[in-house]
């Protein structure tokens, strides 16, 4: 089908996909129903959640056990009517994490690869146009092995979009780039899609990317959708522990609810195997019930003297049991009866002269303590 009319542009992807995976290290059942309008939708979840399997099913590279996949009015796969359009006829663009540029073809030949149905002159013109849109026109006679990572990512996008697909699948295509470069590439992608208006499904397991890109986020775990909405809605109140881990919660604490103070909007929780008590936001729990709390390492304040005059309700004394510099981050582990992971900047670590075995105080804001379901 060669029409690229208004009917195809702006079309919505609807998919119900079921696929069982037993072969992989983490077997699961992918069971998902989605409706993706034009524009960027983020598919977010920990690795092994089934994101790539879903993309492979949509692109026709993996055959689902049962599914119905349609874009606009056209059905690409329907197990009930035994419709199964092969990959090469689906007109779905797919950029893999590995990018999969053809190493033996130069940039221009990579980009024109999907345009065999056109005259050579037309092919060249289309390639020039899309390479210009992604600012890599000057690289067209280079080999993929001779260009940088960010350039490769731009070429891979250009190659998949030059065919005027009706759906774009991106499987962590921008990993390994710094935030600025990432934002620039995404801006070019958005500009390109302002005219094409196709649905773009962007897979990532990075919380930062969700914050930077997403207007719509679908969170997946264990082959299912666990929540959907804006990045705020999906990331700030994770409902399941595994998702919370992916969303950047380093601390998971189990405890018992001691009392519930409805009027204050808080409850006190005694942490398991310690005498620590912390105050957390009110949740569906009653005194005596068990609770699990997630706290980001970056949300914990660290003080070398007992803090005073704070609004924060939770101050815990402890000592540093490990200090580890990872890039621009110092990871401290602090034993307060329970061991907390705390992130501080290298500058702060120097200013406070943090050292092993040092006595410190941790400050936790009540609303940085998130209740998660078991």
């Amino acid at each position: 089908m060669d029409t690229v009319g208004g009917q195809v542009n702006g079309a919505v992807l609807t998919a119900q996909v079921r696929k069982e995976r037993r072969d992989s290290a983490a077997p699961f059942v992918l069971d998902i129903s989605l409706e993706i309008p034009s524009g960027i939708t983020i598919l977010f979840g920990p690795s092994g959640a089934g994101k790539s399997t879903l993309l492979d099913c949509l692109a026709g590279l993996v055959q689902p056990d049962a599914a119905r996949i349609a874009i606009g009015g056209e059905v690409l796969f329907d197990s009930s009517s035994r419709t199964n359009l092969p990959s090469q006829k689906r007109r779905i663009a797919y950029v893999f994490q590995s990018l999969a540029l053809f190493p033996h073809l130069n940039v221009e030949d990579n980009v024109t690869y999907g345009l065999t149905h056109l005259q050579q002159q037309e092919r060249r013109a289309r390639a020039r146009e899309v390479l210009a849109a992604f600012r890599v026109e000057n690289l067209k006679s280079r080999q993929p092995g001779e260009i940088s990572g960010g350039e490769k990512q731009r070429v891979a996008l250009a190659r998949s979009l030059v065919t005027l697909p009706r759906l774009l699948l991106l499987d962590e295509p921008l990993t390994g780039l710094d935030a600025e470069l990432k934002a620039a590439i995404v801006a070019d992608l958005r500009a390109w899609n302002a005219a094409q208006r196709i649905p773009i499904l962007y897979v990532t397991h990075s919380r930062d990317e969700v914050d930077a890109l997403g207007e719509r986020v679908i969170a997946m775990d264990h082959g299912r959708i666990v929540s959907a909405g804006t990045p705020q809605e999906v990331l700030e109140a994770p409902r399941r522990k595994r998702l919370a881990q992916a969303a950047g919660f380093e601390n998971f604490l189990r405890g018992t609810v001691m009392d519930v103070r409805e009027a204050d909007g808080v409850m006190r929780v005694r942490l398991e195997a310690s005498a620590c008590e912390i105050e957390v936001p009110l949740g569906y729990a009653s005194a005596g019930s068990r609770a699990q709390i997630a706290i980001r390492a970056g949300d914990i304040l660290l003080a070398t003297e007992p803090p005073r005059g704070l609004s924060a309700r939770n101050v815990l004394a402890g000592r540093i049991v490990s200090l580890d510099q990872r890039g621009t981050l110092v990871v401290a582990r602090v034993d307060c009866g329970v061991v907390f992971t705390v992130h501080v900047t290298p500058g702060a670590a120097r200013a406070l002269a943090l050292a092993l075995e040092q006595k410190v105080w941790l400050v936790l804001k009540t609303h940085s303590c998130h209740l998660v379901d078991d």
């Binding site: 692109a59 090469q88 797919y94 590995s98 053809f102 190493p103 690869y113 999907g114």
Partner: protein
């Protein structure tokens, strides 16, 4: 020298035929999900294990006037197959089959699957994917297959003796000729031929490995560029 030229001609024919038949066969073996595939794999590998005389014996029976191949050949061309150059070519193709097919399978299997997926989502069917992605990236494997089958045919003795006999200018290859001379105690003749074969083989291999090394990891790309620019 007649024998040496005959050997080279035989080896060239055999490698050409092996590439033509071996490429589709290797592609199928590399990609098929068929359960009985292992049976065909074993058949292809048999010449590695069997003594050449055993293989030659069966080929001789098949090519004889009452063998299936011999009868077919008689019906098609009106003459026999045993003790002819054509018969020698057929027997050598079977004998060298694994030397062509194994490197081709290895080359095809080493092509990154993601490239094949990328080709498919870009609208290419299997044939186009094969021509434009798999084959160009497998050029070192194709070269290896051609060199191995050429070299293996050049050096064969047992199969030739069984199937071809020893007819001057028709089936007397260089290895047979050397054996004959040694049997007749013509050591200087034998050593002249042996030296010529040694020199020729070394030069061919040196050229191929040298060229392959020059092309290096970009073998596929360079040869492909030359081919595409024709």
């Amino acid at each position: 020298m007649e024998a040496l030229l005959l050997s080279i001609e035989l080896a060239a024919c055999v490698s050409a035929i092996l590439l033509l038949c071996g490429i589709p066969l290797a592609y199928w073996l590399a990609n098929s999900q068929w359960r009985g595939k292992f049976l065909l794999e074993s058949v292809v590998a048999l010449p590695l294990v069997l003594p050449p005389t055993v293989l030659g014996f069966y080929m001789l029976l098949a090519m004889g006037p009452r063998g299936p191949l011999g009868k077919l050949w008689q019906a098609l061309f009106g003459r026999g197959l045993a003790f002819t150059f054509a018969g020698l070519v057929i027997a050598s193709v079977i004998y060298s089959l694994p030397f062509a097919v194994q490197p081709l399978i290895a080359a095809f299997e080493s092509v990154d699957r993601k490239l094949l997926d990328a080709s498919a989502v870009l609208g290419a069917g299997r044939l186009r994917t094969f021509w434009r992605v798999i084959l160009p990236l497998s050029v070192p494997g194709v070269v290896t297959a051609a060199v191995l089958s050429f070299a293996h045919t050049l050096g064969e003795f047992g199969v030739v003796l069984m199937v071809g006999g020893n007819l001057r200018g028709i089936t007397r290859t260089v290895s047979i000729d050397i054996y004959d001379h040694v049997q007749s105690l013509e050591y200087s003749e034998a050593s002249r031929l042996a030296l010529a074969l040694l020199g020729f083989s070394f030069v061919v291999l040196a050229i191929v490995y040298g060229v392959n090394r020059q092309l290096g990891r970009h073998a596929g790309r360079r040869l492909w560029t030359l081919w595409a620019a024709r």
